[in-house]
């Protein structure tokens, strides 16, 4: 019972990383997708290099860089938790950006034209007509990313954040048994069941149109 309580405490930290990442990485991803689609080659170049690096290097390495680099370069110290959240946001925003780009580019040109002809401003066209349809289309790939994110939070042990996986590892070596790790595995699985349910509910909600 004590183990479960310890793990739940660790889970709170995991969930904080999870929630903060989503809250910031989704809007940031949307902004990066605009940059990637920009006609300005400097903006689209920078964003595509950014996406390429974030997707092309291990997240665990990015965690280490965000945590250690500031102290080498500026002699400034970043907290473990803060570093973990920043690294996750930067990494996930790159994936979300590509998902949004795909979603935005899949909306037929006629939707933009119809909005334009009806006198909508560019912003109105995007927020009233394009974005709602994009959200419906990107839900399946986004749910993939969110499920991966739940599991990826375990990586922050690399910079010593005390979240659920770390707690389970410590407990496991203390009692010389894999049982704590197994229980943690069940907890991750349950979290992802809830995530998958939430997405399937959202998809059903948006099923009223095609």
């Amino acid at each position: 019972m004590k183990l479960v309580l310890l793990l739940l405490e660790g889970m709170v930290v995991s969930l904080q990383i999870f929630a903060l990442t989503l809250i910031f990485a989704i809007p940031l991803g949307l902004i990066i997708s605009f940059g990637r689609r920009s006609k300005n080659i400097i903006i689209s170049g920078i964003t595509s290099i950014y996406i390429s690096i974030m997707r092309g290097t291990p997240l665990i390495l990015q965690l280490l860089v965000v945590y250690f680099a500031p102290s080498y370069v500026f002699e400034a110290k970043v907290g473990r938790f803060t570093a973990a959240v920043i690294a996750f946001i930067l990494n996930y925003a790159a994936y979300f950006a590509e998902i949004f780009r795909g979603g935005i580019e899949s909306i037929p040109k006629g939707q933009y034209e119809a909005g334009e002809v009806l006198g909508f401003t560019k912003l109105q066209v995007f927020f009233k007509i394009v974005l709602p349809q994009v959200i419906k289309r990107v839900l399946p790939p986004i749910s993939n990313e969110v499920i991966t994110l739940v599991k990826d939070t375990a990586l922050v042990t690399a910079i010593g954040v005390e979240e659920m996986f770390r707690v389970a590892q410590n407990a496991s070596s203390r009692v010389s048994s894999v049982q704590p790790l197994f229980v943690a595995g069940v907890f991750y699985y349950v979290m992802n069941l809830i995530v998958a349910q939430a997405f399937s509910f959202a998809e059903k909600k948006l099923n009223y149109y095609r």
């Binding site: 006198g119 909508f120 009233k128 349809q133």
Partner: protein, 253 residues
């Protein structure tokens, strides 16, 4: 009275000339049919007047507002954004592929522009939208979504959506080309009804019988120029130009 006057319009895409010196006008209350082979520039002409494309050269005036004119260097100069928005609202456009907003109900499709663009109150917009739906014979579909409608019903909703902004002139870009003959008829019926109400309309169409019956004037375009224009009976029974004759013969057989 001239409602739209376009003079010497030139437009090319990547060196491919689509409109080479088109001039025409639309008078108030008139129905103009634009016919011609695919790729003759008919749709591009409509899209230029609707500001979906920008002309390379030429001038367009809508009522008394100058949309675009050509300066001494031969370049097209457009009016400022605010003016263009004003002009745009005077002209409605109905697309070949309807382009309804799939995430909005039929009623919302019609109401959204009056509310967010013209600043009409929600209650008023809804009342007007219902009236338009009754006119289109679709009052029972107010809460349906476009994915549940037939093509003909979609196109009638699209017409209602364009009419909701009370445009002075309505453009149709091949409104029935995506429809089978039966659905085509229900859409043509609506356009005919609008013609009886003296709505000013420009219809790009391949429906020759419809053009003949409904249009006050027919314009035959080919290769980016207006080859011939005139009353439907002249164009269809007694065309002056060989190209027109060949085209019409191809249709009537």
């Amino acid at each position: 009275m001239e409602m739209i006057k376009a003079t010497d319009i030139y437009k090319s895409f990547d060196g491919n000339v689509v409109l080479s010196g088109i001039s025409f006008e639309v008078n108030k209350g008139e129905v103009v049919a634009v016919i011609g082979p695919s790729g003759s520039g008919k749709s591009t002409l409509l899209r230029c007047i609707n500001l979906l494309e920008k002309v390379d050269m030429g001038s367009i005036t809508v009522e008394d507002d100058v949309m675009v004119c050509t300066n001494a260097q031969g370049r097209a100069v457009y009016a400022d954004k605010k003016k263009l928005r004003e002009i745009r609202l005077k002209i409605g456009l109905v697309f070949q592929s309807f382009n309804l907003f799939p995430h909005y109900s039929v009623l919302d499709n019609i109401m959204t522009a009056p509310i967010s663009v013209a600043g009409v109150s929600k209650a008023e917009a809804q009342k007007a939208a219902m009236e338009l739906l009754i006119k289109m014979g679709l009052e029972d579909k107010a809460n349906a979504y476009p994915c549940n409608l037939s093509g003909g019903q979609c196109q009638r909703v699209a017409i209602a959506r364009a009419l909701a902004l009370k445009p002075d002139v309505l453009f149709f870009d091949e409104p029935t080309s995506a429809l089978d003959p039966q659905l085509t008829n229900e859409v043509l019926k609506v356009i005919r009804q609008l013609a009886e109400e003296h709505m000013t309309m420009v219809v790009v169409t391949h429906e020759m019988n419809f053009a003949r019956e409904v249009a006050d004037r027919v314009i035959f375009m080919d290769g980016g120029v207006i080859v011939e224009e005139g009353k439907p009976e002249d164009i269809f029974t007694n065309p002056k130009k060989e190209r027109t004759r060949a085209f019409i013969r191809g249709f009537i057989g």
